[in-house]
Symmetry: C2
Subunit: 652 residues, 2 copies
């Protein structure tokens, strides 16, 4: 139902765009940095969205009925800050200190104690946003995740995502376009702001408004072309959303530095107006407004959100006992043989989690028959989201689902999770509650070769484990279970830990190491063997070879402590204490590159003193071989090599 827009409303829209534009210019000049020209290009789009189209309560950004805006082109954030402050939007913490923003706060942009961070980040106290953006191309995927969460909860809210033209070069944008069509997410609206200017030059003709429009059509979206500074056209375009049967992309021609003639030169990307030129810039905006007949007509309030009562899930999630869950999953044979792959145990745990709590959702990248996520897909099909071969989109969509109150487990081969490191970074910055599981990790993959083996994932994820994010939380926890029982329990742990978690699972079957009801905890490790000559530490699949090595060493009269370091960060105290009483030496063994277990223990030992640490890691790039054992040996972590190194170390 398309209501024509009154001329007075058009005049008011221009007036508001000018008013917000002046705030943008002033706040970035005050900050001494920022991207005012990119922000000005969005003036009218933001006025139309945040004052007229979005059904939400600025004073209650936590209201689950609110429409949401994802600013994928994150550096344009000053225009959103301006609007939000003008509307008296709330900032702070839902459960803590909250207050209403005002335009006087805008001069605090980018200051240390301000919620107005340089790029969007809800975690710094700006809850209008759902995820940190600023690294480009990720917002449409986040929007898709928010839309999935809304649909699961039966909330008829809309998700608006603003994307830049230069930004649309990023392949992830097109992964999201596919995903949104696949999942029929007509509650997402993508707005492409086409101002024709990149950072180092004009955008490619492949990113022109014409090209983006043609691409959107080829990707099976409905597509509407508008002048991004024409309030009537914008209103008409958004007015078509309710009757759309396909997702809608609005391709808007915008002007970088709109309203400020001085900014409309090619090298004004990412530059604030110098103080001396500030008043001139504001005067140019006023003049632009006069030319357009800008005239305030009162105070605008956005339409209110839909009334929503959400059944509040919460509290600790407890899953069925391992034995029971395995039986139910048809893995009785493995249970009896006391042998199951950690990836299979993960699949069992996922189903048990899905049974236990409706917030659990699962995403997978076309490998669910390998990751065992297919079990969840069969049991809870409404909460399983096939992402196909597009890991960047998968991770950012998970961040969106988490922002929408779900607990997403996103998985693929650990090697392909590397496709999404930038997206994982951004999820960590958002403090997104996502759980990533990488299967077929390490060298134990064997014959497929290095293109399928994750060897640097441990180093990357471990790098996030010492960044404190407040409230007793750290940026990431890593889990690396050696058997089915620990894999099952670590999956449960991840569901209950706040924030980003990563777990590695492996391809081959592995013997049970632990009793069926063994408990596991964050920061913990387990001592499996005692001995007075040497301390061996491992995790994951290599732990089995380390246990075998310990037996061979014992035959030689070298008795070893053996520890399972199944999680980072790790409290190394028990390991160092055991090592001090056992000759003072530790040998770590892992089938990945450096930066993982060896680094973790070397850092602890070198700080504490008195304990020597030597590490066996994959010291060559692997290649294919018939068996995993041949590849272990090839890269230097074969059983024979472990025994040799340990023997030499114990002899010192």
């Amino acid at each position: 139902m398309m209501k024509p827009v009154a001329l007075s409303e058009i005049a008011a829209a221009h007036a508001k765009a000018v008013e917000l534009g002046k705030h943008v210019v002033r706040m970035t000049t005050a900050a001494g940095s920022g991207h005012p020209s990119s922000a000005l290009a969005l003036s009218h789009i933001i006025v139309e969205l945040m004052y007229r189209q979005m059904h939400y309560d600025p004073a209650d950004p936590w209201n689950p009925g609110n429409d949401r805006l994802v600013l994928s082109i994150g550096h344009a954030v000053p225009i959103v800050y301006a609007a939000y402050a003008d509307l008296g939007g709330a900032v702070g913490d839902a459960n803590g200190e909250r207050r209403l923003l005002g335009v006087d706060d805008l001069s605090g942009l980018r200051e240390l104690n301000s919620v107005l961070d340089g790029h969007p980040n809800p975690a710094e106290g700006f809850p209008f946003f759902d995820a940190a953006t600023g690294s480009l191309g990720q917002g449409l995927s986040v929007g898709a995740g928010l839309a999935l969460a809304a649909r699961l909860d039966g909330i008829a809210k809309r998700i608006f995502v603003i994307i830049g033209d230069g930004e649309s070069r990023e392949g992830q944008v097109w992964e999201a376009m596919d995903f949104i069509v696949d999942h029929r997410l007509t509650n997402v609206c993508a707005i492409f702001s086409c101002n024709g200017e990149g950072q180092a030059g004009k955008v490619s003709s492949q990113q022109s408004a014409d090209a983006i429009a043609a691409k959107a059509a080829a990707f099976n979206w409905d597509m509407i072309r508008v002048d991004g500074h024409d309030p009537a056209q914008l209103s008409a375009a958004f007015g078509r959303l309710p009757s759309a049967t396909r997702p809608v992309a609005i391709v808007a021609r915008t002007v970088k530095g709109w309203g400020v003639d001085s900014m409309r030169t090619s090298n004004f990307h990412g530059k604030p107006m110098p103080s001396a030129d500030l008043e001139k810039a504001c005067a140019e905006l006023d003049a632009t407004g006069r030319q357009l007949g800008a005239a305030c007509n009162g105070v605008w309030t956005p339409p209110p959100p839909a009334r929503v009562t959400l059944r509040q899930a919460g509290g600790r999630i407890a899953i069925a006992p391992f034995e029971e869950a395995c039986e139910r999953a048809g893995m009785g044979a493995g249970l009896k043989a006391k042998k199951l792959a950690t990836r299979a145990a993960y699949g069992v745990a996922l189903v048990a989690l899905g049974d236990a709590d409706p917030r659990i959702v699962v995403l997978d990248g076309d490998v669910s028959n390998s990751t065992y996520a297919d079990r969840f897909a069969q049991k809870h099909p409404d909460r399983f989201f096939e992402c196909k071969i597009a890991e960047q989109n998968m991770i950012s969509a998970a961040a969106g689902l988490a922002a929408g109150g779900k607990i997403p487990f996103a998985g693929s081969f650990a090697k392909f999770i590397a496709r999404a490191v930038d997206q994982i970074d951004m999820a960590a910055i958002s403090r997104a509650n996502i759980k990533i599981v990488g299967s077929h990790a390490g060298v134990s993959l064997g014959a497929d070769g290095p293109s399928q083996m994750a060897l640097s994932d441990v180093a990357y994820f471990r790098s996030l484990t010492r960044a404190d994010v407040g409230h007793g939380q750290i940026a990431c926890r890593v889990f690396h279970p050696c058997d089915a029982i620990s894999a099952y329990r670590c999956t449960e742990l991840m569901a209950n830990v706040k924030g980003l978690c990563y777990m590695r699972t492996h391809r081959p079957e592995a013997s049970f190491v632990y009793p069926l009801t063994e408990p596991f905890e964050v920061g913990g490790c387990k001592q499996l063997r005692r001995g007075e000559h040497l301390t061996l530490v491992s995790c994951g699949y290599m732990l089995h070879d380390v246990l075998k090595a310990a037996e061979r060493l014992a035959d030689q009269g070298v008795r070893c402590n053996v520890f399972d370091a199944y999680t980072f960060p790790l409290d190394a105290t028990p390991i160092l204490a055991a090592a001090r009483s056992a000759g003072g030496s530790i040998l770590t063994v892992e089938d990945n590159y450096i930066g993982g277990l060896h680094a973790e223990l070397a850092e602890a030992a070198a700080a504490a003193g008195g304990v020597r640490v030597v590490g066996l890691t994959a010291s060559r790039i692997p290649k294919s071989a018939k068996t995993a054992e041949e590849v272990f040996e090839y890269v230097g972590v074969g059983l024979r090599q472990i025994v040799e190194r340990a023997t030499a170390l114990a002899a010192r």
Copy 2:
């Protein structure tokens, strides 16, 4: 000029497809693993390309005039191995041991001592390929890089890239499609193999042949639809390439498991035929051949490559002295003030390298006015390739350029390099000679906030620095210069080191630390101060604060050694020796997350014993602040904190 294909040639093509298909089935059964069904889908495409279309000499894969094939859908490699062995292709090393493959070699697929790795990898002795593939979606970018190299060298060779339909979901494929149009690389031909089947289910309708065809057209490619098992249609399609004015995409309908009825069930992805069913499978192939009128008509040899004489560049690259290069680059003021940002010095070095050697090429992601790559772009525009906001494509294109004999320097903000970790992995596996430079690294970026700051890059790249790739080479070398002189020299070092290198540069200006002619070497470190109480180690931008801290500590009577650890891997011997003579303690300081300098020294110290190492790293996720100093303090590496920690450590 389109010659109709003789019926006898069609019959022969079918016969060859059947013959190769039988090899595929046999070799994967012998290996016990592999993806025969995906390979069979390419039977006719490979016959057409490797026996009829490509101008190349299988016995001389190093011939620079050869057309090239990039198998982006890497797991389908058995069909290429079969063809290459049938053609007596050469394997091994150009300068070492080489021999001609035969079909008897095929049963060695995936064995440790075989060049027939599980996925394509030229570095394992299969020089028909240019880059390792297997992680999907990267090959078209590699092809683009090969095409750029060919054009630079004036060689009229063609680059064929085969991409799977499910694979085309990966956003990088569409980055490459844009890039190839931007750079008018009509010498690249993309072949999409559309068999409709993914791994965990059918491909999405967004990846149907119809959808891919529509997308290719929207991306401004010419597009030809063919039956991928019809030799006449394939021949006609390729016949249109010479007259094409735009890049050509061939969208081919193929059949997964073509010719083997038993394989054409939905769960035959990535599975070899069981031994017991092998003969039946071969019989099915023969039957398929008979139905199609397959008939051998003699031995095929592919047409020979163009005669090419390449001026062989080589040898060590030496660049102009730093002072002279700065003057030429218009940086005399900084030279005089003895203050230049490391990113600026990098820009100067790039130009000097470009002047010194024609193999040097540069790629950038729309930030060349920030990375200073724009200086090279102005001086050597034919060797500068703007990649726009698409880092995945940039890195894989660099790998292609390296395979084509160039020395590519690829750069963006260090944070955005994280977008391409999977591609960097694959480049390392290929042993690609690419140099990656990440600017604006670390916390010193300041006000923009964490979405623009690389904090995990050091951990990731360091993870590759202990993987030995033979011939005295390691998988990656990392450089982290603190001033303009070291940045200039490290850039020169990178050009001369074989293999993947990564260098971090920073946003702010930095005072000169070194004399203008100071030499630098791989594995080295520099002692800048001597003292007997404590040893401080740092690198990059933080080194300056560490030098300031050392002064303050000296005022307090605590005299420190100071080391600049400007490269990984590092020979820590001099640092450990100095520490032992200075109280036995080391404090490392870096403005990134763990896994970098602290891990490097802790590993060395914990192995050697007798030296304590404590590390200051970024211990919180940063946020915006007016000044970089505020953010350093916020994350725990402010000057005050360094002095406090050092004081406490020296007092122990």
